[in-house]
Symmetry: none
Subunit: 204 residues, 4 copies
Amino acid sequence: MPKIVDKEQKRKDIALACSDLIHDLGIKKITVAQVAKTAGIGKGTVYGYFENKEDIIFEIINIHIEKYHNNFLKSIKDLKSTREKVFHFFNFVIDNSEENLKHFNGYKEYLSIVLSDNDEKMIDFNDTCNVFFHNQLKKVIQEGIDEGDLMPKSIDFCESLIVFEKGLVLKKMTEVDFNPEEICLNFINNLFDLIEIKKGKKNV
Amino acid sequence: MPKIVDKEQKRKDIALACSDLIHDLGIKKITVAQVAKTAGIGKGTVYGYFENKEDIIFEIINIHIEKYHNNFLKSIKDLKSTREKVFHFFNFVIDNSEENLKHFNGYKEYLSIVLSDNDEKMIDFNDTCNVFFHNQLKKVIQEGIDEGDLMPKSIDFCESLIVFEKGLVLKKMTEVDFNPEEICLNFINNLFDLIEIKKGKKNV
Amino acid sequence: MPKIVDKEQKRKDIALACSDLIHDLGIKKITVAQVAKTAGIGKGTVYGYFENKEDIIFEIINIHIEKYHNNFLKSIKDLKSTREKVFHFFNFVIDNSEENLKHFNGYKEYLSIVLSDNDEKMIDFNDTCNVFFHNQLKKVIQEGIDEGDLMPKSIDFCESLIVFEKGLVLKKMTEVDFNPEEICLNFINNLFDLIEIKKGKKNV
Amino acid sequence: MPKIVDKEQKRKDIALACSDLIHDLGIKKITVAQVAKTAGIGKGTVYGYFENKEDIIFEIINIHIEKYHNNFLKSIKDLKSTREKVFHFFNFVIDNSEENLKHFNGYKEYLSIVLSDNDEKMIDFNDTCNVFFHNQLKKVIQEGIDEGDLMPKSIDFCESLIVFEKGLVLKKMTEVDFNPEEICLNFINNLFDLIEIKKGKKNV
DNA sequence: GATGAATGAGTTTTCATTCAT
DNA sequence: CATGAATGAAAACTCATTCAT
């Protein structure tokens, strides 16, 4: 079924070409005409690959998140200490590089859709992302425990960490002049003081 | 002379009449025609009391939040222990009563606007709300310190508590089957074990 | 019937109060609400004195033109030579004083109504104005003839003079950087060279 | 592939189909819905070819004026004497054929727009038209001079002729029972008596 | 398969006019 | 008489989606 593969690929190609529209215009301002033009194809053609506009937006967001996930997995590999790895989960909300801000603002637009529409597909997808990070964090913590860095009860803090991160994300998205970095550092360092098996102090 | 109308009051009345539209339809689906019909007045009349559609929505949200703030202040008065009072801040995200869910879903719709539009008024208003709760929490904690319930350093945890609450809110808004209650209880109880001046244990 | 006089007077008062609206906003932008507010009365009251919006505008224009006619009659009295008097008819299109520009632009707005609507009242009124100036000009010329300044056939040039003035008006209204003064001077001086009974040359 | 449409042509086609609306309804009464219906297309389609309502009206007027200019150039070719050619410039204001009245009334509507809106495009376009006729007239007069029909100073009367014609136009547009023909004949014949190099009298 | 022309429902906003008080 | 609250028709413009070529 090589045709199907091609279809899937073209879907991605179109979404990829339009990947910047989401933070350049904001989700609500994206039009199908815009998408077609940006991807260099006809409006009708778009409908050959996507069911409707929602579907297009969904795919564009997909691209963003997939890209972010990949970056995440790549960059966490190089980190050694558990504390650093955990801290890396907060990179999303702290890093103000242009690259990361694109993802952050893309996610912001995405959230506004998840909150207002009750699109099941979006909600499902959001869950998938949450599970991804939850699992990654559990893995990191578990490794920390296995390697004797962390106390066994540490695994209970996964959920709190993720909730805390979401809180930072939401505050950064909605408040002017909110600086998550310091709060984040405090929180993690305080937490690690509680759950780390001390061998010698080392803050992030 | 025609009946003299208290413009400010009628504004509230209209918004009040439409207060349910926000979670029945979702903010984006609200039309001026809908508002007029729901309030039992003409479309033109709506524009006698509101500058534009944004303004209507803003007032409706205002109603919700004002009501919630009042409820909050009223109900926190009866609480005695600091722990209970702090826990009360999480009532918003935990209470599944119809009344509270209306507020919660209203706020959800509101957030989606804050995230997608960059409406300055909305953002300002959001800040005002944040400041309100931040101040209330600080007051509660400070009283706890003054009354010898909490250790002085407790005041530093205000920010974290609020971030955590926002995280729960966001997760409850976007995830199916997310139950904030247990996580919340754990978090608060764990925290209070650290900051409470022990006189005898008392969980919420 | 003192009441009727009062009504007529109030009509004028309202129109007078709003007389600046016509060039401040342009006729099309004038609203009844605006008129009521400017006159310091209620919207309903306006309809006690005017049949409809057209009627209001009509009265405002009336005020302008009446004022202009009075000014015209007053200022032409002081002029001695027929040539000066004739030239005075062109003052409307040449004088760039703020006062006169108000009248000129008011008349411009008025014309746009006469041209687009086929409001009979407006057209009749326009005719009345034309007749006024035509008669004034005829009077001036006739006096010139009677006093031996002009040749008897001069009376035939009335119409042409008025047509010429209208042409200047229209061109000034529609063309950027059109300067009627020079053209006007040339025209009149040339004409007077033909119709004046020479006693010694005197240009305006 | 869908049929490729000559956008510029279709623009003209739509405007052409609606070309009568301008004097049937008057410019101010034209609505986009009306235009769509008259052209036998959908409202949305109109916006595929025109930026906004102004743009539509502009094109309709364009059609009228373009057609008139062409007719003008065509018909002036057959005329021999300079006097006849000059007289031809006044055809617009004298000819009461249905065809010409359409143009005349179209121009009337157009003027009302130029006078009330301060639309730059309209004003520019008006200038272009004025320049067109001014140049044509200069050409005619110059040819007359070159051929020994007219005295060299005749060229100075161009401006006055055009002003005079505008005056006739405005009077015909705004006054009931105004008959420009006689006035016009007088004016031109008188003028030509002054500027023509006599070889034998020949009125128009 | 690709295209882009055509569509029209749907939305916001304005404002002359009426009429109950 | 005066008032201004209430009204709703009317108008411009957008855009997801369809479908003939």
